[in-house]
Symmetry: C2
Subunit: 394 residues, 2 copies
């Protein structure tokens, strides 16, 4: 039995007469023109290289966004939680990869989705997980399918391509009756880079390690059909994808200030922003107080480690035009303090109580997660075109 | 018309046969014994000083917690959003202060609650807000009641006690037909302290500034009945509260690692934790990977600026016993990397895939906000006694 998310259908077709100017704040805005442009950019990049794009839905967590990613039908996706897998399964998606290492309870729950006819692939990197997954599959009467996680840059989990345990894990999978879907890696270290050369090198490293791991498995007699790589920076900077069969990426749909700092997008590509209202001013301190604190923006300070620290976000006017060097310098739960970036010669704009601003986020995944829905807008219009529900939880 | 949160009633009475050992992870646990002890501690402290405690519900955001704060009946509370005010009004609470500076749309919405018979006080610090609030009150046919926000430590909004604008604002309120409820201040800077002496001094400063502001208003002929101060650190370190009529605090209900670092609580007082499962190990790097990343823990790194940096949280076994110096060293969306604190001689515990841990959070307000409900537990038992819903949004 799949859990059904009925709230999604309740909200997403709701017509609205609200406008950006009249919306209660704080609120999350999604610019659909920018979304479509970002989707088309990576989609055509992958099509040109003949590689399947398996978008990661962990950023958007929305069926309405997923439908725009795959225009004609429910296509292949990546998910970060089993609640996401169940949500998208409920909405007709069948081809999914759950890209987080397996635990006993997730193995059992994942097999329930396979029982329901969903081709959900899971991720592991140890013989223990293979055995556990095999048992869960047998209990459910299905054949599990799993990727072996490969570590391409020391970032997180997985085995290196030349680790002899790679073959041990594949053997344990065969022994346990688990189908080897292929190998999967994620160039997480690319988030810390900021030059085209370094990003291209990270992409090539990700490709080379993935291909080497697949080769090692094949040499040991294991079929390794899928070679899956991905991260938004490497997906946009990879030139050669020889040997790779699919690419995963998630934050590219919305982009954010961290991705701007990495050099993957312009600020004009950032599709989500938080609408906020001025609730006070402290001219003597150079502060404007708004009603978006970390509850609306998230505590993510990802740009703190980059060349340009954007505080808790970069401030724009209602039309989306950036106020030069005006950032959210501090945040408490429901208060944001806007101030001019230290060292800048810009002056504080004249914003009175009640004025509204839009704040570009450091990290789209974290900021969007603080909200229940997207207020969908487009350039040059004050209208809220739709409200798209987000799912949450695990 | 009040919005009704029907989900709260759906979940909160739900019986459960789950145990901590069988709960799907990540999940938020709330230790009710610790909760009750924390509530009793501040409650008796304030009772001994004859000062009203107006708990801030921004941390818990739960009717079930609120009912335990005020044992017999819906008592006075503080809220951080109007959605909270509406939620608690729906559950019978009538005496509330919305402690975030007013904007035009919140003025209108707050007056709807007054129209519905809720004594909701709001917060302002400018003549413009007073005029705006007066207009919203007249439109709704109610008399608004507002606090003037006082700045006691340069932390955020408000006027200093000797700012002549204090009298201007009070006059504008009288002119606009807005009742002056009193003055309200928040010693937010106390979060950055860590010695009993400094905390006691911050508490005395908060009191002295609040009393001075009230005196200035009274001298100018304005009634100032309520003198409201509050922050969890100062509430616990204030010795003399002469002239103060009420104290607000929120995070004291749960406490967290930041409050531990400030010196307000022991780690054994921290009532919430995130249950997580091991999903991989990298012994060669000294890592254990768990399924609680920043989505479950929040991005809050509040202890980074303290003497002991707890990473994204301090790790305990299933019974709540701390693994010495084992912290969540890194976090991505759904992955946490456990490692021994740099410089420590402790060794990594032997935790295999499937093992469960509990993670004490840096910041209870931020971590709890990542979850839909509290799994209520008590010491010495594996049972989940109840599931308490949390409200969210604005």
């Amino acid at each position: 039995m799949l859990r059904q998310d009925t709230r999604a259908t309740d909200i997403r077709h709701g017509a609205t007469t609200a406008t950006v100017g009249t919306l209660a704040t704080p609120a999350l805005l999604l610019d659909k023109d920018r979304l479509h442009r970002n989707l088309a950019r990576l989609s055509s990049r992958m099509a040109a290289r003949g590689v399947l794009l398996r978008p990661h839905m962990k950023t958007a967590k929305s069926i309405d966004v997923a439908r725009r990613v795959h225009r004609s039908r429910p296509g292949p996706i990546t998910v970060s939680t089993l609640a996401e897998a169940e949500y998208f399964a409920h909405h007709g998606f069948k081809d999914m990869t759950y890209a987080v290492g397996l635990a006993p309870h997730t193995a059992v729950r994942a097999m329930r989705l396979r029982e329901a006819g969903i081709d959900l692939k899971v991720l592991l990197d140890s013989p223990e997980q293979a055995t556990m997954l095999g048992a869960a599959g047998r209990a459910a009467g299905v054949t599990p399918s799993a990727f072996i996680e490969i570590d391409c840059d020391g970032h997180r989990g997985g085995l290196t391509a030349n680790d002899p345990r790679l073959i041990t894990v594949a053997a344990a999978m065969a022994e346990a009756g688990v189908k080897l879907a292929g190998i999967l890696t994620h160039a997480g270290e690319s988030y810390g880079l900021c030059t085209p050369e370094a990003l291209a090198a990270a992409a090539e490293n990700e490709r080379a390690v993935a291909v080497a791991a697949a080769k090692a498995l094949r040499s040991a007699g294991h079929e390794c059909l899928v070679v899956s790589v991905g991260s938004t920076p490497t997906a946009h900077f990879a030139e050669n994808l020889t040997g790779v069969t699919e690419v995963r990426a998630g934050v590219y749909m919305f982009f954010d200030l961290v991705m701007h700092g990495v050099g993957v997008c312009a600020t004009d590509d950032i599709a989500i922003s938080v609408l906020a209202t001025v609730i006070g001013t402290k001219r003597e301190k150079g502060w404007i107080l708004v009603d978006a604190g970390w509850m609306a923006l998230s505590r993510d300070r990802g740009t703190a480690a980059q060349r340009v620290d954007q505080g808790y976000g970069l401030v724009c006017d209602l039309s989306g035009k950036i106020y030069p060097d005006l950032i959210v310098a501090q945040a408490s739960q429901e208060h944001g303090i806007l101030a001019i970036r230290p060292g800048s010669a810009q002056v504080l704009p004249d914003l009175a109580v009640g004025a509204k601003v839009r704040i570009l986020p450091n990290h789209a995944c974290a900021t969007a997660a603080q909200h229940e829905l997207y207020n969908v807008v487009s350039a040059g219009s004050d209208a809220i075109h739709a409200r798209w529900h987000r799912m949450r939880g695990w």
